[in-house]
Subunit: 332 residues, 2 copies
């Protein structure tokens, strides 16, 4: 249990001024070797660790960035965080984590906290964030990277996957093969994504002179959604059902099984966001491999560029997806 030692004490111990100590801890080249050695010895002897808070104050720079996510318990959110943190580590940034818990969290309050905490930037991965919040952040001149939603604002960068295109392509392929009864589950926790998906589906249909109306609204909790889906499939049939998350796809599969619908023969199921669970369950679930880890990693890298005034070629980065056929779809 040691007293917190300051740069001043190190200076005294080493018999130099604090400026010199500051220089060695910041790796300045100008310090003479013997002086440097003395300082380093003192640092080690006293167990000195620079106070990042004081540095932050002096530099008006905290080297921490704020991250906003909906909640931490989705498998894909976890991947995003992993990617983000791995890159953050490389560039020596810290991550301050904020979640938006439904019913508990006031988004404005989070924004407030973020501004007060003087993070260097904020990365947002949430459908719940409004333009309002973003413009508040903008007012305070805080660089923003938005994950997953394509944002076209001058001061905001975004890293996303083109769900609209993905779903459009998927539907088009199915329509070309004569499958026109396609349903899409609404994901209430990802409203924007759902919107994009619906737009994509509609486009595919209208390209073929058809109309698309089949999207199913499901309650948000697994149990109730499962119940709902299960009921729904008692008297509904579709040729293809598209779900956003693994849990929703599983609910569909369970409902199908219990209602004697065989997958993929009678009904095919596609999950949009791929997680490890899609290949662990039986039948394995066909899905898009959305690069969640990369979504995080790329966003963080982009942030570092923003903060270090590196050239940013593209303010909007579109990441690729790949459709992986598994057991819930036929091969056309």
């Amino acid at each position: 249990m040691m007293k917190r030692v300051t740069i001043y004490e190190v200076a005294k111990e080493a018999g130099v001024s604090l400026a010199t100590v500051s220089r060695v801890i910041n790796g300045s080249e100008v310090v003479k070797a013997p002086t440097k050695a003395k300082v380093e010895e003192a640092i080690k002897k006293l167990g000195y660790k620079p106070n990042a808070i004081a540095q932050g104050l002096a530099l008006s720079k905290t080297t921490t960035i704020g991250l906003i996510i909906p909640e931490a318990s989705f498998t894909y959110t976890g991947q995003v965080i992993n990617g983000l943190l791995d890159v953050a580590k490389i560039y020596k940034y810290n991550i301050m984590l904020h979640t938006i818990t439904e019913g508990i969290t006031d988004v404005e309050k989070i924004i407030d906290v973020i501004i007060k905490s003087r993070v260097d930037g904020v990365i947002i991965y949430s459908d719940k964030i409004t333009d309002d919040s973003i413009s508040t952040l903008n007012d305070y001149n805080i660089p923003i990277v938005v994950i997953s939603n394509r944002v076209s604002s001058e001061s905001v960068c975004s890293v996303y996957v083109d769900f609209e295109k993905a779903i459009c392509e998927l539907c088009s392929k199915y329509i070309a093969n004569g499958v026109t009864d396609i349903a899409l589950l609404e994901d209430r926790k990802n409203v924007n994504t759902t919107k994009q998906m619906i737009t994509g589906a509609k486009r595919a249909f209208s390209n073929n002179g058809l109309s698309f109306e089949n999207y199913i609204v499901i309650p948000k909790e697994y149990r109730s959604s499962y119940k709902y889906v299960s009921d729904y499939f008692k008297d509904h049939r579709h040729q293809l059902v598209i779900a956003n998350r693994d849990s929703q796809a599983m609910a569909v599969l369970n409902a199908a099984r219990e209602n004697g619908i065989s997958v993929p023969e009678d009904m095919e199921v596609v999950c949009v966001i791929d997680t490890k669970y899609n290949s662990m369950v039986r039948p394995t679930i066909s899905s898009f491999s959305i690069p969640s880890y990369d979504l995080g990693a790329v966003s963080m890298r982009l942030m570092t560029k923003l903060l270090q005034n590196e050239e940013v070629e593209d303010k909007e980065k579109c990441l690729n997806y790949l459709f992986t056929t598994r057991q819930t779809t036929k091969v056309y």
Copy 2:
């Protein structure tokens, strides 16, 4: 895009001294109503937000706590984080998130960063943290709460689940019912937990004059572990297999299915950590409902007590588990 306004400018705008502004933003009772009103107006007009970094420096207190987890992509880790953040929000603490990525992360470096960042406390949820790291943190007088591992040190609190007891009880019950061929999968990402589980199993067996040696070592990645388990079950049979995580239990189930072993008739499977996936897959997987969310919430609450010098009755908090029978076990 506004210039960052300081307390000084607010003071000027309101025609008072900065001390007074400081008093109103800190809710001091002594400020007269009219003065207070003036200040508040100025704050609003200028869009002033106190600089938490400067406050941190002045108070030697950051109101942020560091959280160390292995990686963010496990469903249960997500729950812990959710619990933690929900409580942190209530007590107005921020969370700085650190992950220990295998191959990428040097634990000592994380500890170093944490000390430099002057967090008020750190919560550790990781098997990878050594006594060394903890004692370093101790040297710097940083309060510690350890999740999941029971730590008996004077300066460290811990919140955990008694896995040893859980497994011992489970095995005892089975042994009492004549089931003595029990296997336990090693979870290399949770070495300590595995150790506790094995100890529990051994105790159950030795209580009954038997010996326990059946623990299976599996490689850590799902694919390879699945492959391994799948191979293993080609020529191995057990009456009961205990797995730590959902993915491992699923690997066992898949391997069983492919080798013509019916569950639960020929072999029963129990998963220790319960996640939503355990009840989403078919067959649904019997498991202990480890209160992951609570693990996080209770730890954070404990941390706030530590930081506010509230009375802490118990430095070691043991949380309850509950065994939930689902489709992978028989009912005895």
